[in-house]
């Protein structure tokens, strides 16, 4: 390898050659570009031919240019190799330029979207999640974990909508229970995906989740620790899936009660957190206090918030899981449809609310 570097260094000195690794990395970025293969593999091929004596084994897969007639004169070899390197370098520069241009235009678009978003927010509006690019929000203030979540959530909502439509069609078409079970499984897994995404987002910025910034305004109105309240959910679903057997009614009633108790305990835990935080922040406002210690203990408190959001999601997940066990296949399918449709309506209401004509003051 060191002898190769010496070779390359001397060529670089001639000003005719760009570092090999850069060529291959641009190659990786632009796989689909036809001209790419010639550039990178030729460069590697040329290196191999030149350094055969030094037993340099290139790890790049070689294109079959070996079949070409090779001049046996070293001078010609070097000339050809230099020309190929020039070509590869030129192509690399072109690819880099194209890439940078792409980045620039994306950046301009991003700034435009941010401005749009700000304007809409000032008017008290809501930008529909259908144009999911606008879901990117204010990139500058956002951690990458949250930006990732926002995008993923936009896709999640779109997929959710498709799944709900599928479910509706399946129920109307009276498909078999086996087929319904698959749809139900997919639906539940989709929610599980959301909870996983939220767990990651909570690590990045728990306040983002708790504030409900990622949800529409009407959904935010009903928000409980970063999502829907499980017992409320049951209240919404039950009328949609009747008639229920006696046993089912008892089971659901028990589930609602257990969930209610767990929710209340969690709520009290969060209230205690608020109280503790307020107390430690308010300590000795007039005097010197122990700023460092107060801040440290406050940080500890805030770190606990992530646990609360995770527990709330755990309750949501368990509630869905238990319901799917209590209900028959058909009922579970209707339940999932009802839930999806309900949340969809909340989102639609948010859009309507934002779009309604404002009274001139």
């Amino acid at each position: 390898m060191s002898s190769l570097s010496t070779q390359l260094a001397s060529l670089r000195g001639m000003g005719l050659y760009e570092p090999f690794h850069q060529i291959s990395s641009w190659g990786d970025t632009f796989r689909g570009d036809g001209s790419l293969n010639i550039g990178s593999s030729t460069g590697a091929q040329a290196d191999t031919r030149l350094d055969n004596r030094n037993e340099y084994a290139s790890h790049e897969s070689m294109e079959p240019t070996r079949g070409e007639q090779e001049s046996s004169r070293p001078f010609d070899k070097i000339q050809r190799r230099l020309a190929q390197n020039r070509e590869a370098a030129r192509k690399s520069r072109m690819r880099k330029k194209a890439y940078v241009q792409q980045l620039e235009s994306s950046r301009v678009k991003l700034v435009q979207l941010e401005q749009e978003l700000q304007r809409a927010q000032q008017q008290g509006g809501y930008i529909s999640s259908v144009s999911d690019s606008s879901h990117l929000g204010l990139i500058g203030n956002m951690s990458s974990g949250i930006a990732t979540f926002e995008m993923a959530y936009g896709h999640w909502v779109e997929k959710q909508h498709k799944m709900i439509c599928e479910l509706r069609i399946a129920l109307q078409a009276q498909v078999t229970d086996v087929e319904l079970k698959i749809l139900i499984e997919n639906g539940l897994n989709h929610y599980n995906n959301l909870f996983r995404m939220k767990a990651d987002a909570a690590k990045a910025d728990v306040f983002y989740l708790i504030s409900g910034k990622w949800r529409t305004s009407v959904e935010r109105f009903f928000l409980w620790i970063g999502g829907f309240r499980p017992s409320e959910l049951l209240n919404i679903l039950v009328p949609q899936i009747e008639p229920l057997t006696d046993k089912q009614q008892v089971d659901i009633s028990n589930l609602r009660q257990s969930s209610r108790q767990a929710e209340d305990a969690l709520s009290q835990g969060i209230e205690k957190l608020q109280q503790t935080l307020a107390e430690s922040m308010a300590l000795d406002l007039m005097g010197a206090g122990n700023y460092r210690a107060q801040m440290d203990s406050a940080i500890e408190n805030l770190e606990a918030l992530e646990g609360f959001v995770n527990q709330a999601d755990n309750l949501r997940q368990k509630a869905l899981h238990h319901m799917s066990r209590i209900l028959t296949t058909r009922q579970a399918a209707r339940g999932l449809l009802a839930l999806g449709e309900y949340l969809h309506r909340l989102r639609a209401l948010s859009s309507l609310w934002a779009a309604r004509p404002h009274e001139p003051t």
Binding site: N254, L255, Q261, A262, A265, Q268, I270, T276, Q311, L315
Partner: protein, 101 residues
């Protein structure tokens, strides 16, 4: 470890907690709501708190609260909540003699 086992068995329900831990408050509220009179040990106020914390960590407990029912380790908030939604928590408490009704 012996001390942990001893403490864990001295009452039907034993909670290892921390005064600053709000999730502990949640679990205490939940269990208290059922009428359970749990023994609560605040690790940050106990003289041997550190060692007990280490012993609990070896049992697999990463953070407070850590709940023992009938001398057996049940787990943390996650486990307790899940058991309750399962409708398994109350029977467990009853078997351990933590509930009168």
């Amino acid at each position: 470890m012996e001390r942990v086992k001893q403490l864990a068995s001295e009452r039907a329900v034993v909670i290892f907690s921390r005064t600053t831990c709000c999730m502990c408050h949640t679990i205490k509220t939940l269990l208290g709501g059922f009428g359970v009179n749990a023994a609560v040990h605040e690790l940050d106020e106990m003289p041997q708190g550190r060692e007990i914390e280490h012993a609990l960590a070896r049992l697999g407990c990463q953070s407070t609260p850590m709940v023992f029912i009938g001398g057996e380790l049940v787990g943390g908030a996650n486990e307790v909540m899940s058991l309750h939604l399962n409708r398994s928590l109350i029977p467990m408490l009853r078997r351990a003699g933590a509930l009168w009704v």
